[in-house]
Amino acid sequence: MNGTFSRRRDRLLTYRAMREGKITSSRRTRCSACGAESPQLEWDRSLQVCPRCGFHAPVGAYYRLSNILDPGSFQELEEKLAPADPLSFPDYPAKLEQLEEATGLKDGAVAALGRIEGRRAVFGVLDSRFLMGSMGTAVGEKITRAAEYADKKRLPLVIFSASGGARMQEGIFSLMQMAKTAAAIQRFQSRGGLYISCFTHPTTGGVTASFASLGDIMLAEPGALIGFAGPRVIEQTIKEQLPEGFQRAEYLLDHGFLDRIVPRSEWRTVLSQLLALHEKGGRP
């Protein structure tokens, strides 16, 4: 690996992760789950996990990658992939522009090539700051290209989901991204590729009902809300209140849909172990 370039890329990732941090940081930060205020410094030390209640607050895609990848190994893929407005939806382009300004992202997903303890993999990370990480055509296309790239290079694929589901503003074209991403994952897996799916809070709708549920290995952060229908929709439908902990990662583990719950500080260790167990991209 070329030293100068890898150092430059590393600085770029750190810069982007810090930029994300600034958007949410103040001196003391209130936990949206328990309401307790803690010094930002403590939040930073715990990787944005509430020091009081352990709530894993949503984080940006670059921040997450910067905490998982080997220093200097980050290489962004398909960085220029931009969203479209296939329905000519009122005010949508302006909204996209505003979000790009605020987050530094073109849309709600980042794809990258990187290493964990020296082992290469392709990463896809959804970012809930961008319209709830909803999947429009650009997010679907990026996940698809990540899977195709991993297939071509015979590398494992790791995807962190955080999404409200299909993006309403792109209508039916968003819905079709479910079929497209699921097909790409299916093709990748059928050729022996290892796909590790990592749910983070919250992941619902069309992302749960497509690529996120198809992992060879299924992982989730503690307390993450994971479901097809959102809790409010279910409560309105069945006209009763849902029990505490419903659709949380722990609940899914109990019902057989996850292999393991991974606290944020342990992602590197767990992913490293899994990549090592599947040396050569999971192929014999």
Binding site: Q75, L77, E78, K80, L81, A82, P83, A84, P86, L87, F89, P90, L113, G136, T137, A138, G140, E141, T144, R145, Y149, A166, M168, Q169, E170, G171, I172, F173, S174, L175, M176, Q177, M178, A179, K180, A182, A183, A184, Q186, R187, S190, G205, G206, T208, A209, S210, F211, A212, S213, L214, I226, G227, F228, A229, V233, I234, T237, I238, L242, F246
Partner: protein, 274 residues
């Protein structure tokens, strides 16, 4: 082409007297043998499927079932499937591939059921598996959106080589009510949503989402079932004849490429590699 507004089409698509999956099976297929159960834990009547003959040729047919009477509606949960329904569909479609039978699906659902037990048993996973499975099957698949194509619950049976739509059927990312409720926090603006969603067969044909639109009788499918059956029969016959010339891997490739191309959302020059 059409005298109906998108709002009116939504009403026609939901019309209780519109022919449904069971009616199409009765009228167009012979020798129907219903297959029940997902072989894990249950049987979901909101998806109807089995083996039948289409002009003498064995096929697998699967579709959403809303039911005709109130009693049937309740039993079929108004056509909103649970994970058991989608897992049954997967079982039937895998079997179709094993025995080299083409698959015909009829899509008509408000959406997958958003219920407590459905979540508990993995509604998201069940739909995701349907999508992945259908994308790779090496037999011809033809899907027809006959009424409401609601969200992932509809798409789960519509990853086909040819997706057709009845003229006044609708197909959308979410129901207009849900769409208005999410975007504008006001489900009463559903009619307005119908306008911006581009959910009509004509819009979707233009957008490359469906490959054919089937004419309905004047006034809608519920006014003359026999006419609808004739149109449907001709369309299925034509599409099947075309697809049966293809080999299995070519069918899977065509399906993959078709969905792959939907909404790339960017100029083709954007591809890059490190």
């Amino acid at each position: 082409m059409s005298r109906f507004t998108p709002e009116e089409k939504v009403k026609l698509a939901r019309h209780p007297d519109r022919p449904g999956t069971a009616d199409f099976i009765d009228a167009l297929f012979t020798d129907f043998f219903e297959q029940r159960g997902d072989r894990f834990c249950g049987e979901d009547p909101s998806i109807l499927g089995g083996i039948a003959r289409f002009h003498g040729r064995p096929v697998t047919v699967v579709g959403h079932r809303k039911g005709k009477s109130l009693e049937e509606n309740l039993r079929c949960n108004f056509g909103m499937p649970s994970p058991e329904g989608y897992r049954k569909a997967q079982r039937l479609m895998k079997q179709a591939e094993k025995f080299g039978r083409p698959i015909i699906t009829f899509v008509d659902t408000p959406g997958a059921y958003p219920g407590k037990e459905a979540e508990e048993r993995g509604q998201g996973e069940a739909i995701a598996r349907c999508l992945a499975l259908m994308s790779a099957l090496e037999v011809p698949i033809i899907s027809v959106i006959t009424g409401e194509g609601g969200s992932g619950g509809a798409l789960a049976l519509a990853v086909a080589n040819r997706v057709l739509m009845l003229e006044h059927a609708v197909y959308s990312v979410l129901s207009p009510e849900g769409f208005a409720s999410i975007l504008w926090k006001d489900s009463s603006r559903a009619d307005e949503a119908c306008g911006v969603m581009k959910l009509t067969a004509q819009d979707l044909r233009r957008g490359g989402i469906v490959q054919g639109v089937l004419r309905e009788p004047e006034g809608g499918a519920h006014t003359d079932w026999q006419a609808v059956f004739r149109t449907m029969d001709a369309a299925l016959t034509r599409e099947l004849a075309g697809l049966e010339k293809w080999k299995g891997p070519a069918l899977a490739r065509q399906r993959y490429e078709m969905f792959r191309a939907m909404g790339q959302g960017l100029p083709p020059a954007g591809r890059e590699e490190p």
